[in-house]
């Protein structure tokens, strides 16, 4: 058993809703609500959920790109939320993020060499000639050519831009990378290229990924563990095989059954969820999922379920898990 590299304890991130003449806080959007889990070194945790469930917010909160409302995140032995300025900056060297949209996450006025090499200067690692060499070798690792260093982002296709984003995240030689939907804005044939690259890099540099995505098939492919989020909470977390073969939470079951299968002979019992995801500003009483759940019982509407271990690290937050 390896030691966890990232550990979350009751992390919360609320966005206040202001209203009235004095812009007083009239409510909270609970984007991330009381989440705890850990990621082992060298593995990939897939984080899935529908849009608006808080998965990106969680990814950014872990890196303290957003200020948390409550809770703790440990990276190795450092309490990230307690570190300040210089110390935090040093930590950032080891934790990087790959953004979703390769079109808006690269500064159009910097050339690729500057984009990828900027962090080397900021952290005082390499300047001038040395920086240039590092940038070039990193571009090659990510499947680009060294001479691309002089070009600007608009000269590249979406897939190539995402490679630049990955090169930028990797130049500082980090251990932990949050990949926030790195493939969702790319074409199918390019998605496979990027995912294969990420897998190669993981092997080469021993990276740990938090892979955020709404594409359940891709998460199945790349992850070791998978966490399912719904309305700011983790509803189920488990090893990949276990989760895809034996989903216990009704939401996970519905989510998995909803994915179209590329096989004309495939006959599945599809669970069609009624209605939409409720507003996180006004979540339902009791279990978050109860208005859409086909199994919901009386006490699901009153009492909120806790995330419980049902054996071999498979955690589910559902009152009715024994009946599933």
């Amino acid at each position: 058993m390896t030691e966890p590299i990232v550990k979350l304890e009751n992390v919360k991130k609320y966005f206040p809703i202001r209203g009235g003449v004095f812009s007083r806080v009239v409510g909270n959007i609970k984007a991330v609500d009381d989440i705890s889990f850990s990621i082992q070194k060298g593995e990939t945790l897939g984080l899935v959920g529908e849009s608006g469930c808080g998965k990106s917010t969680l990814g950014r909160t872990i890196l303290k790109l957003l200020d948390p409302t409550a809770g703790k995140v440990f990276y190795k032995d450092f309490d990230i939320f307690a570190t300040q300025k210089e110390e935090l900056r040093n930590l950032r060297r080891e934790m990087q993020i790959i953004f979703q949209d390769p079109y808006s996450s690269l500064n159009p006025r910097l050339n690729v060499g500057e984009i990828v090499g900027e962090c080397l200067e900021i952290h005082g690692i390499a300047y001038g000639r040395e920086k240039q060499e590092k940038v070039e070798s990193m571009l090659e690792v990510c499947g680009l050519a060294p001479h691309h260093r002089r070009r600007y982002p608009h000269e590249f296709s979406g897939g190539q831009r995402q490679r630049i984003g990955i090169a930028r995240a990797l130049t500082l030689n980090p251990d932990f990378i949050v990949a926030d939907e790195p493939i969702s804005s790319l074409d199918v044939s390019i998605q496979a290229q990027i995912v294969n690259l990420m897998e190669e890099l993981q092997e080469k540099f021993g990276l740990t990924y938090l892979f955020i995505s709404h594409d359940l098939s891709m998460v199945r492919h790349i992850s070791d563990h998978v966490a399912v989020m719904y309305l700011g909470k983790i509803v189920e977390i488990s090893g990949k095989k276990e989760l895809y073969q034996n989903p216990l939470h009704p939401y996970t079951q519905a989510l998995l059954s909803a994915v179209p299968v590329m096989d004309p002979d495939h006959k599945s019992k599809r669970i069609i969820l009624r209605g939409d995801v409720p507003s996180p500003a006004n979540p339902p009483q009791g279990c978050n999922f109860n208005p859409r759940c086909i199994y919901a019982e009386e006490h699901c509407r009153v009492e909120e379920p806790e995330l419980r271990d049902v054996g071999s690290g498979h955690q589910v937050s559902c009152h009715l898990v024994e009946k599933m």
Partner: protein
Amino acid sequence: MPDLLEVKNLYTSFHTEDGVVPAVNGITFNLKHGESLGIVGESGCGKSVACLSIMRLIDHPGKIKADAIKLDGVELQSLSEKKMRTIRGNEMAFIFQEPMTSLNPVYTIGFQLQEAIQLHQGLNKKQSRTKSEEMLKMVGIPRAEKVFDEYPHSLSGGMRQRAMIAMALSCEPKILFADEPTTALDVTIQAQILELMNDLKQRINTSIIFISHDLGVISEMVDRVIVMYCGSIIEDADIRTIIKNPKHPYTFGLINSKPRIDVDLDKLIPIPGSVPNPLNIPRDVLINLAVKVPWIYAKAKYLENPRLTRAIMLAAGYSANREEKSNHDRTNCKA
């Protein structure tokens, strides 16, 4: 009985300042009554433009040229713009990808629904309101009477797409074009919409042309598939053949680059490179190459050395474009 839709050698090109972009490059296909046809391909392959061209919705600087675009035996190209307007929305309807941008934000859902019904079916205000509400109910919108008076912004993405479907089906069109109707939606909502469309397909006898880049979605919706690449049709066969036994290396690539929810794969096989810029595709070179490249060779090459294959795929696409083919099970690849 002639086929419902007959498209022969359709070319659509955009005359831009930088040169001519051939978005659709001589495609030929037929659609039978009650058939559902899927068009797959990556962004920019011309699948949407092809459908918009059939409805003559291409604006300047686009130009449409075809040997035939026949709907029920009637040549659409010879119709006046006024006549064409009676066909659009009435006999052919379109569901767009992004339901937020395709509904008008300043009019109520009801107004937009009624507009088409009044125009095409000559119903008065009261009748068209009843009819609109019926349509909204049919697509599974709860409290249809209320939603009728609401604006698009107050509906969620899934509900908007339902309203869009109601609008498209309100005049009982012969052909329904669905251009990536679920791409902007979450999986669970996508499942709702696909179920709805499958259900409606059985109830109303409408032929559907379903455009998507997702072969998973396609395989749940259609009987026959056309695969497009760089403006050409490269493979046309029934869905089972396409998925189980694709003939063209590009189709093969599309299928194998996608991870499966039901099977574990060791490694994804991506299609190398990226889609070429349509402005500078060296066509002559490709056509020459195409004659020389049999598909089995292309597939083998594809597996062992990825670099060449985008060119080979393109080439293979061109080779068969010049040949006479039967409509079914054709591949633009020489086997």
